[in-house]
Amino acid sequence: MEAIRRIHSAVFIIAFLSTLVASPPLLLAQAWSVQVDRVDPGDVNIEPAFRIAIYENLLVELAKTKQFKQVFRSGDRNASGPEILILKTTVQKYTPGSETRRAVTTVSGATKLNVRSQLCTRQGQVVVERVVDGNVRFFGGNLRATHNLARNVAQALEKSDLPAPTLAVRESK
């Protein structure tokens, strides 16, 4: 009986330790806060509603991942200190779709977005850079593409390894 109890406690400790080992990216990233910059349309003729929807959805999706300590809006005066990364989003491609065309033909009318997302330090050093797509092909309105895009950006950032804040600040100096 005593042996079984020991085995149980050993298994529990191993499971706990393996959970800790598996989660350092999250712990490390939570040392950072992020400030979402306004979306740069680049050379692309994107509607203001899409630009704003990408920005607002990014704020929601980044907060959902709990990867960062805090998520700040562009221009927020509370976003101060060295442990803040700035998320810059530049639209690279935009294919306006049509919900009616999707409903009628199924195969055409997709709304497609492609953006370059960069996480930068205040000094301008790029920490993470990803190119992300967001589309709506079958169901949903055109603005749903912005929600899908923001979710994909948040997932891409969640998967990426961020440096420790002190290291990143020292390197940029």
Binding site: R38, D43, P48, R73, S74, K93, T95
Partner: protein
Amino acid sequence: MMVKIAPFEQNRRALACLPLLSFCAACLMAQNQGSAGPASGSAIRVTHVLGFESTSNNANGELSIQEHTLRFQKSDGSNAQVGVASIQDLSLGVEDKQVGGTALALGRAATPYGGGRLIGLFSHKKYDTLTVEYLDPNGGLHGAIFQLNKGQGQVPKDELVAEGTHVSNPENQLTKPSTPEAKHGGN
């Protein structure tokens, strides 16, 4: 050579077409009602798509401009507001959407012999979208999108411009949605 169809069979076919026809007629009537022109008062019925201060997405309510304040009053009585002075930019757009939501989307998918596509061809409606960019007291940028009936977008825009709101591209106002499948490449 004439093919005779039994009167009973004829009636059955006519009855089968009736629900589809009545549905299409209802959709067309809904479209006409939507383009009935701007509201006379300052409060306009809108759907909040996203982004406005402490308001849930896709909430219906009334948008009004009173005492230098842009106010969104939800159907349940609660309201949210921002000062007109904090509005940084304003733009209008046009959006073409399918009506009926998820229920009709499922109905379309379930209709046999491609009937769903035919329904989809008629069950769409054009809306105006009003996009408002404003700053909160901390200087944080917010963006809100409202969906209005077609032709009503100009009313709040004119009122906000009269209150001194900045409009970045006044010549591009009420921009039509770009041609589908026309790609805009940045690089």
